[in-house]
Symmetry: C2
Subunit: 278 residues, 2 copies
């Protein structure tokens, strides 16, 4: 979804002369050529990257280390090496294991905050990144030229590009995306095991449907995110547990004033967030 | 919203000959008459209920006890006395305080699982209850005739009526509605106090918007729900805390298999719930 959409957007803008794709699944490559997403399917990774000015990894986080190791001997000097993974610290860690002598100047991890519930090359579309944020997390070795070029690449796709360090990215995404996913998966799983679970789901209404939508996300992808951004996610779960204990206490004490105050504060923050999207 | 919509639906169906409304706010009554929602605005509660075959209380939960006390001396024999509150045990408790000798045979609390984010008589519409569930919670004194009539009243409005005891209702709603609201309010409030809260809300995306939609609900109404269904909500928060501790442990242990298993189970339950709505 992400890799194919990026290729489509860059081709549509006339920003690339040749797109070479690689996939473990040959069928994907055939389909990508038929859909006009790539110009060529490579037989192996070495073949795919040897002439590339920009190498973009759109693979599960846990696959990154092995791919870095396989492409390292074949990269062009000054090639930009980036990715689209949902956690960034782990990508830097994997890369440092493969390049212990120091990372290439073109190495800049990235994360487009965009997607749909679908996946696969056939789900891609050129407008996916339009008006969406892309976070780049350059390392100390990253060259300003590479950052400038990669920023332009995403801007051509309509994205708003921002840079920050990998740790800040992981902390922010743990709070706004990873924690809510864990909470939603947890609620649905809890209720599915409730002795009254049939009744519970029968009487659930629109609010419940919205609240649990993200619990329909891909379990394997979320497993990988939990494993690769473990520290920040655990920290956020613990902070949430503390806040929930405080709320439980207010409910048990029937503290009307404090409950109303907290709910009002939350409503204002949520309404301000929604207004900021307009 | 709820009382006015019920009156509109019953009038539209030709199921009522005369609707008398009461409100603390005389302006509401004038508006309700102008909108054709009620036939008459009563000067006081006694006047409103003395000739009524059906008395429907659409007032905040915390106001019920006082209203029961005020209407008791003026009710017709065999009048149906019902309400539309989001918690039911507390309504039965309040009624038993006012009728210590035993509840009237027409007493049957109820809860239409319907609503919008709006409130007030001008927000009402006759189709609000169409295809929505209404839960009735008869007590031991409730007569089968009263239950049959009240069921017919809601069915005329297009609702699917089901009966259960008040405790079961409160347990189910605590899980499907009250707990998710507490969790959403809690998450937004936690993040609003985060040291990085500006960045956090700036990088939040569609999933976060859906997940936190219910945190825009009316704080006073939710305060009252927390106070009046305290036991069941506290029980559900504690169960959720336990489940979250289990998940935190899986994340900290990096238990890939158990995380994937839990996320997959949740996704299946959530997808099955969505399919059941189609």
């Amino acid at each position: 979804l992400i890799g194919g959409s990026l290729a489509l957007a860059l081709k549509k803008a006339g920003a690339v002369s040749h797109v070479c794709g690689f996939s473990r699944d040959a069928q994907n490559l055939t389909q990508a050529i038929e859909l006009g997403i790539i110009d060529q399917g490579a037989k192996d990774l070495a073949d795919c990257v040897k002439d590339a000015d920009l190498v973009m990894l759109a693979v599960p986080l846990q696959a990154m280390r092995s791919i870095f190791s396989q492409i390292k001997p074949h990269l062009k000097a000054h090639a930009i090496i980036s990715d689209v993974g949902s956690a960034k610290g782990i990508v830097v860690d994997y890369a440092r294991e493969i390049w212990p002598e120091g990372l290439p100047s073109g190495f800049i991890p990235g994360h487009p905050i965009a997607g749909t519930e679908k996946s696969g090359v056939s789900a891609g579309f050129a407008e996916l990144f339009n008006e969406r944020k892309v976070i780049l997390t350059p390392v100390s070795e990253s060259s300003p030229q590479a950052l400038e070029t990669l920023t332009a690449v995403w801007q051509i796709c309509g994205a708003r590009v921002e840079s920050m360090d990998a740790q800040t990215h992981d902390d922010i995404l743990a709070a706004t995306s990873h924690l809510p996913h864990v909470l939603a998966f947890g609620l649905v799983d809890l209720l599915a095991h409730h002795s009254e679970h049939e009744a519970i789901f029968r009487y659930a209404a629109g609010g419940f449907r919205d609240f649990t939508r993200i619990a329909s996300s891909d379990p394997v992808m979320w497993r990988d995110i939990c494993l690769t951004n473990k520290q920040a996610i655990a920290k956020n779960i613990r902070a949430y547990q503390q806040h929930l204990s405080l709320m439980l206490n207010l409910v048990e004490q029937a503290d009307a004033q404090a409950l109303e105050h907290l709910f009002t504060r939350a409503k204002h923050a949520r309404d301000a967030f929604t207004d900021s999207l307009k």
